[in-house]
Structure formats: structure tokens, C-alpha cells
């Protein structure tokens, strides 16, 4: 019944009605046009589709690592035992132009390191093809240190009498900062962390070796002790008293 009142529009108001009709047509046209536009969009058809840089799930991570370790070229480069996993991250492969990049291809960059001989590899794994796409040899200086290096450095340091003296009776209670987990500043626990360093003095072993300076934290505060540098290549620890500032 409500629609009937349109029939009784006075002639004097028909101009206004014509205007309304035109606008209505515009709405209908717009509504019809929208689906066609959506078809042209290149967004994924489903919200659940995995994209190239979406974070890896545990299965993808494990599978990529397994493929990398079992690759013939990697085995030749690093051997099969004593290999550390440094990182496993999704990556995007750049092709010759933007238009040709596959936004859904799941590639994973696996960085491996063998401490014995200090050699590493950056392995690009194509999860879709279940194959290794590329292997790049890395030198010692190109391999980031991890909590494994930190744990090794701390074990070396604990053998040093000066370090034991600084840390006191609870030296062994210090926990190694785990990467990528972060320290909790409010935690009362003792924590050991470290910073990679490289000397410019050619006589200093740390000009070439993998060296890490250890820092000790009790709760929120750091101990202001001597400099404790672990040379992971030579398996030695250097403890230096600080010069007065």
C-alpha cells in the first residue's frame, strides 16, 4: 500500500520525481556494477589461503628443515652431524618483474651452521615442490650467533676463576637468554646474555674469530663486572678488568 502514494504525485512535482528516478537508476547501476569489479580483484578467493609471507606453522618449519638437511649439496658442504639450525623463516622470491611474482608460493629460508670448521649455508626450500631451490655457502662471519653459542660461551666462562668470583656461589643458576624468546625484566632469575663483537686490531684473536662478550643480569639490573669475552673459535675466555672511566 505504501508504494501507491507514488501514483498520486502532482504534476508540479514530477520534475522532482524524475530526478529521483535518475538517482534510483544510479543506485541500481552501482549495485549491478559492484560484483563485476570484485571479480576483477586479484585477492585470494578464500580467507584461509596461505600467502607467501604468512608465518610458518610447525609442520612447515620441520619439513623445510628436514628437506634442507637432506639435500645432497648441503650434506657435501656441511656434512650430516653437528649441524645447528640458525633460523627458519618464510621468504619471497623476486622474479624478473612485479607481475610475475607468485604471492602464494611458500618458500622457506633455512640457515644452517656447522661449528666444527665454522661453515654454514643459506638453503631456500620450495615447500610447494618439496625441493631445495637454492644453496648458498656462508662464511663464519655471515652466520648470526644464537643461544647455542651463548650457552657454549657461558660454559667456557664458568671454568674461569675470575668469572666464578664475580658471579659468586650461584654462578650456575644463571640461565642463558633464549632466542627468539625475550628476557623478562620483572623476573628475579639470573640471566646471562651476550653481544657479538669483532676487533679491528689484527693481533686480537677476535679480529677473525667468533667472539661473544657475556653480560650478567640479576633481575632487572646488570652486574658491572669485568669484561668476559668468549672466543668460540679458540674455545677460550678472556677476562679483562675495566679501565676506570
Amino acid at each position: 500500500m505504501k508504494l501507491l502514494w507514488f501514483s498520486f504525485i502532482p504534476v508540479s512535482k514530477r520534475v522532482g520525481f524524475s530526478f529521483l528516478s535518475a538517482l534510483t537508476a544510479l543506485v541500481v547501476f552501482g549495485a549491478l556494477k559492484l560484483p563485476a569489479q570484485e571479480d576483477r580483484q586479484s585477492e585470494p578467493s578464500t580467507a584461509t589461503e596461505r600467502r607467501a609471507l604468512d608465518p610458518l606453522v610447525a609442520e612447515e618449519r620441520a619439513y623445510a628443515e628436514r628437506l634442507a638437511r637432506s639435500d645432497t649439496q648441503v650434506k657435501k658442504l656441511l656434512g650430516e652431524t653437528g649441524i645447528r639450525v640458525i633460523s627458519v623463516e618464510p621468504t619471497l622470491i623476486k622474479s624478473e618483474s612485479l607481475e610475475r611474482v607468485d604471492r602464494t608460493a611458500r618458500y622457506v629460508e633455512v640457515v644452517l651452521f656447522r661449528p666444527e670448521g665454522e661453515v654454514g649455508a643459506r638453503v631456500t626450500v620450495d615447500l610447494g615442490r618439496k625441493a631445495v631451490a637454492q644453496v648458498q655457502r656462508l662464511t663464519s662471519s655471515q652466520i648470526p650467533m644464537t643461544s647455542d653459542d651463548l650457552a657454549e660461551a657461558f660454559q667456557l666462562a664458568l671454568r674461569d676463576a675470575q668469572v666464578q668470583e664475580v658471579l659468586g656461589s650461584d654462578a650456575k643458576s644463571f640461565q642463558v637468554q633464549g632466542a627468539p624468546a625475550e628476557p623478562n625484566p620483572s623476573s628475579p632469575e639470573n640471566l646471562v646474555t651476550g653481544l657479538p663483537l669483532r676487533s679491528t686490531d689484527p693481533k686480537d684473536p677476535c679480529a677473525k674469530h667468533r667472539c661473544l662478550e657475556l653480560l650478567f643480569r640479576r633481575g632487572a639490573d646488570f652486574l658491572s663486572g669485568p669484561s668476559v669475552i668468549a672466543d668460540l673459535t679458540a674455545k677460550r675466555v678472556y677476562v679483562k678488568r675495566r679501565k676506570p672511566q
Partner: protein, 377 residues
């Protein structure tokens, strides 16, 4: 009564018509290599009809921290999406102390990110915590322009995370403004170095910026330089193309910038479009004994294996052509940290206190991307 009905109907038809018309004019969003929380899609202004729009991906990686991928910008709803950045990251943070030792490489350890909560990233101030360690803030950025009684306040979307690098935290911040500008900053904060709490040092973040204006290849880089023709009142600006891979020094008096352009990209007025890398130093930029710190800018040809700033000298040896190709920019900022009493104090053999955030960064500024700013009526 009838007149009121007609007016009411006309109003709603007009609203619907305009909204569907606006939808018709929009260019479809580009397909992205990320989804969910890793995709940032932000229109400006945040309320009302869209003027500009960013669409980009972020990723966190141990060591490098917060990375930006695939930044697209649209200057108007009906304008094409422009590809700006394939990858932006902090490649290294080099920290030499004044006595010559130690000399730290803070990205040389796979440090993780600190956790982030509502105290870092308050929802009532436009913050959203992403994945527990990244903060996205959509916020007012102050004056965009003012002309006597007319004024416009700008907006921006900011992503930041903090690298837990032993005694330090490095805040890695990426800002995408409504006017197309990208800002990158690193802020050093937390605890001074144990045992050397009062020794001056410099934190040098080195960014690797894979700028791909309008995609790739076909990009070139020009060196923007301002010269005062002294003695005399005139000045000259030059922008010679950089032909080969090289390292360059920034000069504050010369307003030096690296200007990236695409061979085919012009705006609606047929003027060549570029993005300019402009340093935003806080106090200055340092150089050290290490060769990779002797330049503030580097321009290299894209190579997926070249990601480490400390190897920059080898990347440009021998130098390859960087014209009409796929280029990468590198920029070194510096935070000169002269410790002060505000940083803390020694309490029972332990350092108690915190160094307030000290920033350094850069700007990537569009030049002739718009025909004119759309934020002026």
C-alpha cells in the same frame, strides 16, 4: 508532509547513489604476499571518504627485527596502486665504544623481540598489539598544513617492535603517512653497557631499503645536491644520475638525498615521479675505522644474497651499473650516546637505571607522485 517524504527519499537515494558511485571508482586492491595480522590496509583519513591508502606486509625475523614488505600506496580511490618498497629492514646495528673496544654487531646475534602489551600500545590511543610483539598505531600526526585560518591535521599508521639486544632494546619503527611519506627510525634504550656504563659510544643502524618504485626493473637513482654559489647570492640544485654502484657521504649543507625514479612513471602532469631518501639525523652521522661505516649512503644493484651491511664494500666491487635496473639503497644513521646521570646509577655493584630512547632515522618522500596535494580543498 509529502514534501518531507520526497526530501527524505531523495536524501537516502543520493547517499546510496554516491556510495555506490564511489565504490565503482575504486581501483581494486593489489594481491599481497601476506594475510591476516601481517597485512596492514589503512585508508586516510580514518573517518569519512578515502583520500589516500597504504597496503603493506610486515614480518618479524630474529636478528633483523621488524621488516616491511610490499608497500603499496594509492593517491586517490580511483588512482592506480603504486608499488614503493619490496623490502625494508635494519641490516646491522654497529656499536663501537670510544676507547676503541668493544665493537659490537648487534644484528650478529639472533636476538628476539620483546613482548608488547597494552601498556606499550594503548588501544585507547589507536594501538593494536599484533602477534604479541608488534604494535600498530593509527594516530594523528599533527599539522599537515596551515594557511592562515585554514588548517588540516594529518594522520599516520605506525608499526614498531623492540629488539631485545642483551642490555639494549632497539625500537624499530616504520611510519606510513597519509601524504605518502615513509619514515624509518631506530631508537636505542634500556641499560648502559655493564662495566662501561659511562663510556661514550655510537649506535649505527644501517637500513637496507629495496625501493622498487612502480615495480622493477627500470629504476635509477639520482644524487640530489644543493649548492650555494658563494661568494654570491644564488644557489643551484643538481640531480645527476648515479651510473654505478657506489658509497656516498651525506652533507647537511648540500641537503643531499638519493632520488629513486622509474623510467616510465610520471604523474598526471607528466612530471617524473621519484621517492627521495632524506636522512633525519639527530645531531650527526659518524664514521669509524670499519670501511662499511665510511659512507652514509650506498647504492647497489639488487642481489638477493646481499643482505649484510658489513659486507657493503665487497658488494660494490667491481661496481655494476645501477641505471634502469633493480636497485637497493642503504643508509647509515647514528645515535651518539654520551652517558649522563639520567641514565642510572651504581647500586651495590649493579647498574640501576635506564637510558631514555635516543632516535635516528630517515624519510622516504614522494616527489611529483601527486598532481597536487589532495588534502587542500
Amino acid at each position: 508532509m509529502k514534501t518531507f517524504r520526497y526530501a527524505s527519499l531523495a536524501f537516502w537515494v543520493l547517499v546510496l547513489g554516491l556510495s555506490s558511485g564511489a565504490a565503482m571508482a575504486q581501483t581494486p586492491p593489489p594481491s599481497m604476499p601476506c594475510s591476516g595480522a601481517n597485512l596492514v590496509d589503512q585508508k586516510f583519513p580514518t573517518v569519512g571518504p578515502e583520500v589516500t591508502h597504504w597496503r603493506l606486509c610486515w614480518q618479524t625475523v630474529a636478528g633483523n627485527g621488524l621488516l616491511i614488505h610490499w608497500a603499496y600506496f594509492r593517491t586517490a580511490p580511483s588512482a592506480p596502486w603504486r608499488f614503493i618498497l619490496w623490502d625494508g629492514r635494519v641490516s646491522e646495528i654497529f656499536v663501537p665504544y670510544h676507547t676503541g673496544s668493544p665493537r659490537y654487531y648487534d644484528v650478529g646475534f639472533n636476538f628476539g623481540l620483546t613482548s608488547i602489551g597494552n601498556a606499550d600500545c594503548p588501544p585507547n590511543l589507536g594501538g593494536t598489539v599484533l602477534a604479541g610483539n608488534v604494535c600498530k598505531e593509527v594516530r594523528d600526526r599533527g599539522l599537515s598544513w596551515k594557511a592562515d585560518s585554514q588548517v588540516y591535521r594529518g594522520q599516520e599508521v605506525v608499526l614498531w617492535a623492540a629488539l631485545a639486544a642483551a642490555n639494549y632494546n632497539y625500537v624499530m619503527e616504520w611510519t606510513f603517512r597519509d601524504d605518502g611519506i615513509i619514515l624509518g627510525r631506530v631508537g636505542a634504550t634500556s641499560h648502559n653497557l655493564p662495566g662501561r656504563e659511562m663510556e661514550t659510544h655510537v649506535h649505527n643502524p644501517i637500513w637496507r631499503l629495496d625501493v622498487d618504485l612502480n615495480g622493477w626493473p627500470n629504476d635509477s637513482v639520482a644524487l640530489g645536491t644543493h649548492t650555494e654559489n658563494l661568494p654570491g647570492p644564488t644557489a643551484t640544485d643538481t640531480e645527476p644520475i648515479i651510473p654505478l654502484e657506489t658509497g656516498l657521504q651525506w652533507s647537511p649543507r648540500a641537503f643531499r638525498s638519493l632520488d629513486v625514479s622509474d623510467r616510465f612513471l610520471v604523474n598526471g602532469r607528466k612530471d617524473k615521479t621519484s621517492y627521495q631518501l632524506i636522512p633525519l639525523p639527530t645531531g650527526g652521522l659518524s664514521q669509524h675505522q670499519e670501511a662499511f661505516t665510511r659512507n652514509d649512503f650506498w647504492v647497489t644493484r639488487y642481489n638477493g644474497a646481499e643482505m649484510s651491511a658489513r659486507d657493503l664494500v665487497s658488494y660494490i666491487t667491481p661496481p655494476q651499473s645501477v641505471t634502469d635496473t633493480d636497485i637497493v639503497l642503504w643508509y647509515k644513521g647514528s645515535v651518539h650516546h654520551h652517558p649522563r646521570d639520567e641514565d642510572g646509577e651504581m647500586v651495590n655493584g649493579a647498574w640501576h637505571g635506564v637510558a631514555l630512547v635516543m632516535w635516528t632515522g630517515f624519510m622516504l618522500k614522494p616527489h611529483n607522485l601527486f598532481d597536487r596535494t589532495p588534502f587542500y580543498p
